[in-house]
Symmetry: C2
Subunit: 521 residues, 2 copies
């Protein structure tokens, strides 16, 4: 029977990165994938959507930049060309991954992999042994049991909508999470009449509500039905009605006053974007002894499951469901598997402790909603921080504090928010809304990882003129407990904490929100 | 006589930020500016150029994105509209700065400020006292003594070219540094026939030569005459000839074989972009006792001049001549002036030392060339690092490793380079070429500031799919001295350094350059 150091089940972001990392350590690795390399992300998710969205963005800009000097007539969007571009991007990237796996010596098997027990899998029926096994079979689109949604050719998931040949005149998107919103924004920008139906009182429920409202205000081409559920579908007709639940009450309180009675929506195409579900149950992992919780594989901070030598990473764990979180889970899992091989004596020194621990920290994983404008964040929102008991200082600035933003996006109303722990002055979270913020937010991950105080982070120099500077301005706008705003001072010490408590007598969690409505070049 | 805690001479980036920071500390601040608030950067530099460049970029994309689905006919560029937009951006940003200064209580005087002696300035003849004085009078465009360049209406500097009303049919740019290249790229992209004349063998001499070559290859609309000097100008005719110097020999070696004999160039407009010079001499600072070196104010790492209580910041010091370097100099100067007011006892603790010192570090200041594509960097290039005696590991990856880059810029050939100290595994520098890199490079500043090893920096999670991920990929592609590539290990200890020396017997500075020509989604 064949034997490997590591067998990876699933060739998506968690799986192929884990395979690459382990192979780079000199390990013998087998990667089993039943469909196409790259998983959902490359074949039906992140990459195809971004390939389409960029063309749609240029299309929009071409027609709306007269004030910048661009005079264009007769601009049209050719969906067929865009789809061809999308297919070409996927093919290029698949070749890239396959080339890298080959170069590193990873064995790739296209076939049906099954986890049997610790140390043993089968691929298309053949039993194969592995010292370690990584479960990385990913997730599938959720299909809610809406009457009339099955066997209705107008109802598609994010997978099928990426294969359509003609622009629909009307599109209904069921689910206003980030997947639904990215498709809604794409189709609205190329001229489709789009309606988004969301059960919760606000779109993208994980977002700060004010930011979600701001995002909606930038998408005038989309009709929103918030606080509504879809009761049934008849051909191209959706029957929707207000949600009768606790969340409906919340909705009313936060302004979802649109939910007043049953309605019908006529449409040509219906996108189900009601989330994704781990494939753990479908893959029979529970029967094979893997501990599951709500249908997802349970893992610890090193991505270990309950079974010895068996790890899980990516969407199968139900954690975050983002490709880059999956990458990192794959890396942490491999690092933990082979830690004994490589842990040097130096790890007992101060420098070694600085490098330790190599474990999963979900609070420093950034996220992006690739609408236009984009929304991006990392770490805790003020609300999340307060619910965890932090006393916070929160600053929101308009991106118009950046000269470049004023120069490039004079009609957009982007924002940057920083959330700081008021006691130790460390950065807890950053949220941004605006064009280009997707490429900026990784620095928030870096800054939160440092554990530095606001005072220290302010010393980092950002290039001018860039939109990224707005983040620096927000760090500078965080008020101090004392007039020591910009000086090199000790906030980690007990003394500093005491001093701040004197200035801010409230010992209960609470947020101070400061706004500055100015800008400078 | 009036008395202030701080008098700032010059209302550009160094001056107005210093005034803001000091006022935020509760200080009484006077800011004197003889022309418009915002200095060169806002009125005739960074901001107006970026306002124009963005329109030009959209103009170019509108006409060249058929493969992404954007079909545009009859796209034209309206320079008058673009200039109007530029003026509106400047006005918006001036109002923003003035509003912020007013809110903070900074007194603003429009008038001719003169430095007299420590503690004393005059503004339009009125003598005024200040505990501290900050010299921030900036720089002017250099005007090289080229025969025929004076009183020739076709010869302009970057100041005047920003006021032209009609697109020139032909433009000659004297000087291929970053200012010359930004204007060259702008005019070439709106259809002007542009020639750049550069004395050195390569454009943007501070850039890595390979990157400069790559940039040129992305600008097919520009004719380059490298290794040439302009001997004289007659109306619209430039007489140029090969440089006879050491740099010419270097030029031949690096491929500047274009320099073979004298030539003439016919043109409609001639832009002098041969650098900028500190205004220190023009402002009479030397006569007032301020120590100068090569016409620039000499400062230490706290921005102190030779005179007590007199600081200098920004272009007047001749250091870097970048707006964000000026911001930071202003901040460091103010922090040092008022350090006694605010330095807490905690600065003697470990946390305090972490925050200390608040001094100028030029090696962590990023820079950007806003051509299309952009070039951006921070820290040392491999060449600079080697010349300082570092043994380095250098990795260059194509930006095509990023799925988003493939999706958005399929025809661009961007790169990312990371330079790592081979002995302690710390990041020394990052250089990037490609669309959007200007908004990414600030994270390199943050990462270099941390002083973290490559192994630690790899733990930072970047959002997918973004171009920023290419930087993370480059960090992962740095080879280890041992197969401990991804493990949490101690590289700061003597032991680790010894181990690496064993693997790399060469004790002399040298670079290992690794390339990976793959990509993954």
């Amino acid at each position: 029977m064949k034997h490997y150091d590591l067998i990876v089940l699933g060739g998506g972001p968690a799986g192929y990165i884990a395979a690459e990392r382990a192979a780079a350590l000199g390990k013998k690795v087998l990667l089993a994938e039943k469909k196409a390399i790259g998983g959902t992300c490359l074949n039906e998710g992140c990459i195809p959507t971004k390939s389409l969205l960029y063309g749609a963005k240029i299309y929009h800009q071409s027609r709306n930049s007269a004030s910048l000097g661009v005079m264009a007539r007769e601009v049209t969007f050719d969906l067929e060309a865009a789809m061809k571009h999308k297919a070409s991007v996927i093919s290029t990237l698949q070749k890239g991954i396959l080339g890298q796996l080959k170069r590193l010596g990873v064995e790739l098997r296209t076939g049906e992999g099954r986890f049997l027990r610790p140390g043993l899998v089968s691929i298309d029926g053949e039993e194969i042994q592995g010292r370690f096994i990584l479960l990385a079979q990913g997730s599938s689109s959720a299909r809610p049991p809406i009457p009339g949604s099955r066997e209705n050719p107008r109802v598609v998931t994010s997978t099928e909508i990426l294969e359509i040949r003609e622009r629909p005149k009307r599109l209904a998107v069921i689910g206003g999470g980030y997947i639904g919103m990215e498709f809604a924004a794409f189709f609205a920008s190329i001229g489709t009449d789009v309606t988004v139906i969301e059960m919760m009182p606000e779109i993208i429920p994980t977002l700060d509500p004010e930011m979600a409202r701001n995002l909606r205000s930038h998408l005038p081409g989309i009709t929103f039905r918030r606080g509504y559920r879809v009761d049934r579908i008849q051909e191209g007709t959706l029957h929707i009605s207000p949600v009768q639940s606790n969340s409906s009450a919340t909705g009313a309180a936060t302004g979802a006053a649109t939910a007043t009675g049953a309605e019908t929506i006529q449409t040509d195409l219906i996108l189900l974007a009601t989330g994704r579900v781990s494939r753990a149950v479908e893959e029979g992992l529970g029967e094979a002894g893997v501990a599951l919780h709500e249908g997802c594989v349970v893992v610890d901070e090193y991505l270990q499951t309950n079974l010895p030598g068996v790890y899980a990473a990516g969407d199968i764990t139900g954690r975050m469901l983002l490709a880059h979180a999956a990458y990192r889970m794959g890396e942490v899992a491999v690092s933990h598997m082979f830690r004994g091989d490589s842990l040097p004596d130096g790890s007992k020194t101060a420098a070694g402790r600085q490098n330790w621990p190599n474990k999963m920290r979900f609070d420093t994983i950034p996220w992006v909603v690739f609408t236009s404008p984009e929304v991006a964040g990392c770490g805790l929102t003020a609300r999340e921080a307060n619910s965890r008991g932090y006393q916070t200082e929160t600053v929101t600035l308009p991106l118009m504090v950046s000269g470049r933003y004023v120069a490039e996006h004079p009609r957009e109303r982007g924002t940057v928010t920083v959330v700081v722990n008021a006691r130790d002055r460390r950065l807890l979270g950053v949220q941004m809304l605006g064009s280009g913020t997707s490429e900026i937010i990784h620095s928030a991950a870096a800054m939160i990882e440092t554990g530095w105080t606001v005072e220290n982070l302010r010393k980092i120099v950002f290039p001018h003129p860039t939109v990224s500077e707005a983040l620096r301005d927000a760090l500078w706008a965080v008020p101090s407990g004392s007039p020591r705003d910009m000086t090199p001072h000790a906030t980690g010490s007990e003394r500093a904490v005491e001093a701040q408590n004197t200035d801010e007598p409230s010992k209960t969690p609470g947020t101070k929100t400061h706004r500055k409505d100015t800008n400078h070049a």
